[in-house]
Every structure is written in C-alpha cells, then in structure tokens.
C-alpha cells in the first residue's frame, strides 16, 4: 500500500505547485474541468448512495489528474504548494456543483491533523486512499452525553499488556460513518482535557457497529457508532497519549478556512438559483423581493469578505485561533438567512413541493448546531475576543 502505487503510471504534474500563482492554478483547473465537464457531471439521482459514489468519482478523477494532491505535503503523497490551492480547487468544484460541498470538504477536517499527528509512514500510506476517492473517512468526536461539552467524552480506551488498545463506548452524529473505511476517533484514557487520546481506526475492525440515523432533511448522512472491545494497534494512536484535545483544536483552522470557503462558494450558487427562481415566481411585489434577496446577498458577501481575509492571514503564516468563531457565526447566519429568504420569496415551494429548496432549507437548520453551536461560538467571542471573563 505505498502511496505512489495509487498514482497512475507515467503521471506528470500539470503545474508546479510551488511556483504557480493562485490565478494560474485556477486557470489550469478551470480548463481541465471544462474539458472533463461531461464525465464529471452530477447524476440525476439525488440519493446519498449516488452522492457518495459521485464524490468518489470526482475525487478519483481529480487525484489521477493531480489536482487533488496540490496543497498537501509531498511526504503524505501530495504535490506540495500552499494550502490555498485546496481552497481554489474546492471553490471550482463547488461552483460547478459537482458534489455536495460539505461532504467534499470533510477531507479538510480529517486529513490535516492526521498528517501532523500520525506516526511514521501512516499518513503517507493512508492519505492517498482518501484523496483518490477510494475511501471515505469519518470523525468520531460527539457522544450521546458529550456534544458541546466535548471534553466530557467517555468512550474508553484501555491499553492491553501487548500494547494494543481496547475501545468501548458510543459515538453519535458521525457523518458518513456508514460509508467510511476509517475513523478519526477521540477516546478517554485518563481524566480531564489531558486524558483524551485520538486514534485512527479501521471501521471494519470487529466490535464496531454502525447504525445510520434518519435526519430531518431526508438525507441520512450521519450515524451512531458503537464500540465493543474494539482492538486498535498502538501505532494507530494519533500523537501521544493525551494529545486528543489539541488535535481537536488544531483542526479548527482548516475547517474554518478552506472548508468555509467551499461552503460559501456553494451558497453563492444557491443564491444565483434563488434569483432565477424568484424571477419566475413573481408572487411578491418587486421591491419586497429585492430587499429580501439583497439582504441574503449582503450576508453572504460579508462572510465571503471575512473568509477571504482569514485565508490571507493563514497564507501569511498567522496562527488561526478564536477569531475564527466570527467566521463561523457569520456563515451559519448567512446560510440560514439564505434559505429563509428562499422560503419567503418562493411561497409554498418548501412546503408543497419536494424540491431541492426543501432539502436546502431543512439542512440549513443544522448550520447553528454542527461544528460548535451558535451559542458556543458566542461564548468564545465573549470570553476570548472581548475578554469579559468567566460566565
């Protein structure tokens, strides 16, 4: 399973990731995507199975052509170059609506910390399986008793005499767990924040049971995952014992830069669609619709500007921290405003027709829950950015 074995024979990088500018890279990606548009188009089938298959297909094509490997370190099977290249690629993929933006961006919350924390050759061995679309991975953090208070998690890992670890417990809301071959899992090995330890677990290990959960929007994207005496080799520990909390914190900068940029791009495509649909609907006075659509645009434009500044800071070598809670609040607010606006200016579309708008509207309700709730973000702003002391 050496990483190079997944790269097509005779592969030649299409651009030099170290020297290409954002504009050059974008132009090259666009030309390639235009050329391959027919083969990559989304199928009419909207089921999650079809969506996940499409995600695999798009990643595979982008990996084989090299695009999917830019912005990832050479040591981990990537082609190098700055992180921003991943934001650009994701933006182009989202702008063409080739895959669901959230699923596409899961890589951003899984791979970077895996690369920084994995032992030895593990990252180099594993990352290409994810990037090439051959595998899905999932993130096992939340538990029935530990949502916002993640540090209270209780899924236990105990070390055996032979050094291997035995995991018992339950995870919940684990996105794409039913499709995943691997899981970045947080466990408890001792009390407190310093007692949380992360593992990279194979989902086909005996003792793991995945039970998909029905969701409100009808796309059953997450699952409960049960662990009964699941044996995990010591080499699969990410970082050292007790590094789990810092791993969880370290992924925020990626989630809140590249991932958000993809999501914002996607939401702009939906705003364009709303503008087109509002035209044909015409059941409201023009000025009312103009005002509502304008407000949604203003909110999306605002988070786009903020996110662009965040990317620039990251590119300039800044460490991203609690200030990204601002990005998160702006994004969740804009996302919900957009679909509320769709419901307002297209009366009945969400309630009376099984449209994409219904799915969008219902899914947007989760934007203030996942990735740290709206309230938790405001707590962080108050405590860390406004220095208001403890609550």
């Amino acid at each position: 399973m050496s990483p190079t074995s997944l790269v097509p024979a005779g592969f030649v990088p299409p651009v030099d990731g170290k020297t290409a500018t954002v504009e050059e890279f974008r132009a090259a990606v666009r030309a390639w995507l235009d050329e391959h548009a027919a083969g990559l188009a989304k199928p009419a089938d909207h089921s999650l199975d079809a969506e996940v298959a499409q995600l695999g297909k798009v990643r595979r094509a982008l990996f084989d052509a090299g695009w999917m490997r830019y912005g990832w370190p050479v040591e981990a099977g990537g082609l190098g170059g700055p992180d921003v290249l991943r934001a650009v690629l994701g933006e182009e993929v989202a702008a063409r609506d080739l895959t669901d933006a959230t699923n596409y961006s899961l890589v951003e919350v899984l791979a970077p910390t895996m690369i920084s924390y994995a032992k030895g050759e593990l990252a180099a061995e594993m990352l290409p399986w994810l990037l090439s679309g051959r595998e899905q991975w999932c993130q096992g953090f939340s538990e029935p008793g530990s949502g916002s208070d993640l540090a209270s998690l209780t899924t236990r890992a105990l070390q055996r005499e032979d050094g291997a670890w035995v995991v018992n417990g339950q995870k919940v809301w684990t996105s794409l767990a039913q499709y995943a071959q691997r899981c970045v899992l947080l466990t408890r090995t001792a009390p407190g924040h310093a007692g949380i330890t992360a593992f990279f677990v194979d989902m086909d290990t005996p003792g793991i049971t995945v039970r998909p959960l029905r969701t409100m929007h009808g796309v059953d994207e997450f699952a409960e995952v049960f662990f009964d005496d699941v044996v995990v080799p010591h080499e699969r520990m990410l970082g050292k014992e007790g590094d789990g909390w810092s791993l969880a914190m370290d992924l925020l900068p990626y989630e809140r830069s590249t991932c958000f940029w993809h999501r914002i791009t996607y939401l702009f495509t939906r705003l364009d669609r709303l503008v087109a649909d509002a035209d044909t609907d015409g059941s409201e006075p023009t000025a009312t619709t103009d005002a509502a659509v304008g407000a949604a645009y203003l909110a999306l434009h605002t988070v786009r500007c903020r996110s662009r500044n965040t990317q620039r800071r990251l590119a300039a070598g800044a460490n991203l921290g609690p200030e990204t809670s601002v990005d998160k609040i702006l994004l969740a607010t804009a996302e919900q405003l957009l679909s509320n606006t769709a419901r307002d200016v297209l009366p009945g579309v969400i309630e009376l027709a099984d449209s994409d708008w219904r799915t969008e509207y219902l899914y947007s309700r989760a934007a203030t829950i996942y990735g740290g709730t709206a309230e938790i973000q405001r707590n962080i702003v108050a405590r860390r950015l406004l220095n208001l002391g403890k609550d």
Partner: protein, 272 residues
C-alpha cells in the same frame, strides 16, 4: 507607508481629534497636519484611518466633502450636495453647527437642501465619487460602533448586580458578542470595497452593524445609557444620521437585490 508609520500617524490623528473641538476647528487642525496631501497621495491609508478614528473618538469634521470631490477629480475644500435617504439631500457645511435643532445629531453642521435646486450636486452624481463617499462613511460607522461597544463592555465589567458583574450573564455577553461579530463582518466588507457595488455593500453592512451596536449596547447600559449624561447617546445619534447619508442600509440592500436580480447573478467580489 509601513505598519509603524501608520501607527504613528494614527496616534497623531487621534491626538488631534481628542484635543481639538469637533467641527470647523478640527477641519482646520486636520488641514494643518496634512489631510489634503494624505488624501491625494494615499487615500487607501487616509480614508480608513481618519474616518474610523472620527467614529472611535466621537469627533466630527466635514471631510466627506473632500472624499467625494477628490474622487470626482475636483479641487477639495468646498461642499457638495449629498444624497440622503428618502430622496432627500443635505449639505455638510464647513462651519460649526448652527444648533437650530433640525438634525437628530445637533453637533453636525448638516443642512437640508432642495434636491431640485442646483446646489453644486455634481460630485454626488458621479458614481465613483458616491462609492468613495460610501466607503468613507462605512469606516466612520464601524468606528462609531466600536466606540459604543467599548462603552458597553466597560459598563458590563464595572456594573454589579445580583452580586456579580453583569458581564457574567450570558444574555449580556451574547449581545456584546453579536455586536462584535457585526462590526468585524462590516470591516471585512470595507477591506474588499473597491468598485461601486463593493462600496454600496460595505456601506450597507456598516450601517447595519452600527445600528445593531446601538441596539445591543443601549440595552446593556440600562438606565444610564438612556441619559444625556452618558456618552452613548452621541454615538447613537451619529450612527442614525450617518446611516442615512448617501443612502441608508435599507435602501442600499434593496438596490443590491435589484441589481443581482437584473444581472441574474450575484457578483463574487472577494477573491482569494
């Protein structure tokens, strides 16, 4: 101008604004420290700095005239008729306010003019000038919002009720967080405001953020924030008046909506 020079300039300007009476005297003092050259040579430094400081210090000067005139390629120093919300027009006099009580923020030397009478309205009709003016006022509004947030934050830490500072109550904390997020978002739109649409959106975002700040901060300040003895009301008045100047949040947002509906696509202005 490097970061250090900018910092020095900011300190000098802040000193001038706090030491000089607002209005005509501040106009003169800023002319003295080289406002006109700064605007001509480094508008991308001058405008954000000077206008956000006007907001933060609570000072005022008639500089928005110069921003419009310079952008329209006309000599600075005079006045221009400025569009105001609701199809009205005002002139920002280069003198102290007469105190005739017509304007909500009585400190500002604003005079309503008849939109149909030719009152030197050329620069304001120039879209480039209008955009430059909106961007400048956006910085001012964000500065005013920050001044309000600062007052409310200090109060929240100082004021004790139920045996603890009110900053310990989540309802209070979340109002202040909301204000901070709105101001940060608006500032981001200002950093990206280059063309006409970008400036329109930035003015709308800044107006909205300042109005949100007024609402939340007034609530956090309780009874004291309702008195004329506390500084808050000056900033609230300023935010309300500046929001209307060159188009208010509501109008600009509606215009943005009309524009993207006419174009059938929403421009992505911020690029990586």
């Amino acid at each position: 101008m490097d970061a250090e020079e900018r910092e020095l300039l900011a300190e000098a300007l802040r000193g001038t604004m706090t030491a000089t009476p607002a209005g005509a005297a501040l106009d003169a003092a800023l002319a003295e420290v080289g406002w006109e050259d700064l605007l001509a040579q480094e508008p991308e430094v001058a405008v954000p700095l000077v206008f956000s400081l006007l907001g933060e210090t609570g000072a005022h000067a008639s500089l928005v005239n110069d921003v419009l005139l310079a952008a329209a390629g006309q000599p600075v120093g005079g006045t221009v008729a400025l569009p105001y919300a609701g199809g009205r027009q005002v002139v920002w006099e280069r003198a102290d306010a007469g105190g005739d009580g017509g304007v909500l923020d009585a400190a500002l030397p604003l005079r309503a003019v008849d939109p149909d009478a030719a009152d030197g309205g050329k620069a304001a009709a120039d879209p480039v000038a209008l955009a430059a003016g909106r961007r400048a006022l956006g910085w001012w509004l964000v500065g005013t919002g920050r001044a309000m947030l600062d007052l409310a934050r200090t109060h929240a830490l100082d004021r004790t009720q139920f045996g603890k500072p009110i900053a310990a109550f989540q309802a209070v904390r979340h109002r202040l967080a909301e204000t901070y997020v709105a101001l940060e978002g608006a500032e981001a739109t200002l950093t990206v405001a280059e063309d006409e649409l970008g400036c329109l959106l930035a003015k709308a975002a800044a107006g909205q953020a300042a109005l949100d700040a007024a609402r939340h901060c007034q609530q956090v300040l309780g009874g004291i924030g309702f008195t004329a003895e506390h500084a808050l009301h000056h900033h609230i008045r300023r935010a309300l008046v500046l929001d209307g100047l060159l188009g208010n949040t509501r109008e600009l947002t509606r215009q943005a909506g009309a524009l993207i509906r006419a174009q059938r696509a929403a421009p992505r202005l911020a690029q990586l």
